[in-house]
Point group: C2
Chain length 103, copies 2
């Protein structure tokens, strides 16, 4: 009978990270974006970005394609349906914490 009175839904820990959230925020608005572009938009270091992209990719929130632009390697990222849904749910959950009405 332990009524826990849980008012706050837990926040998806994969998205509750400044850099990963910024990456998702970028990807949700475009068809695709490459590593260099994301790096410039977020101001992140390459190492940090590499790690965080790996994590999002391991969870299938994004998919990563390695190709070439001319002779240079190019890492292209796209958000997946799973990622889109997770992002949307994260936003709704967070609204509760931020006192923003749902919708």
């Amino acid at each position: 009978m332990e009524e826990k009175q849980k008012t706050f839904k837990p926040l998806d820990p994969l998205l509750h990270s400044e850099l990963r959230l910024a990456v998702m925020s970028i990807l949700i608005g475009v068809d695709e974006a490459d590593f260099v572009y994301i790096k410039s938009q977020t101001g992140a270091t390459a190492g940090n970005l590499s790690v965080q992209i790996d994590k999002l990719s391991a969870a299938w929130y994004i998919e990563v394609e390695k190709t070439f632009r001319g002779k240079k390697t190019c890492t292209i990222c796209r958000i997946t349906d799973k990622g889109r849904n997770a992002f949307a749910e994260y936003v709704e959950t967070l609204k509760q914490y931020l006192q923003i009405p749902k919708g």
Copy 2:
């Protein structure tokens, strides 16, 4: 001449924490709340809550008053103006990440 193109404002690390944010979210809506109430609303363990309240208090985002309710100790928390401002700014900053229009 290194144009960094910083699109994303940094998120206040003190507020970008699930439990601390929940605590602030509670306190912003009430005059005051005690430890036991906050614990029940958040579902946090006492240890975790104690630590996070200390951090918010050390930054003067909240103020903590230790009194008695009858013979039992009672830890009362209130948000400060500094905390209120920090929370408001955090919300506005986060809206950018979440693609929610300002306001």
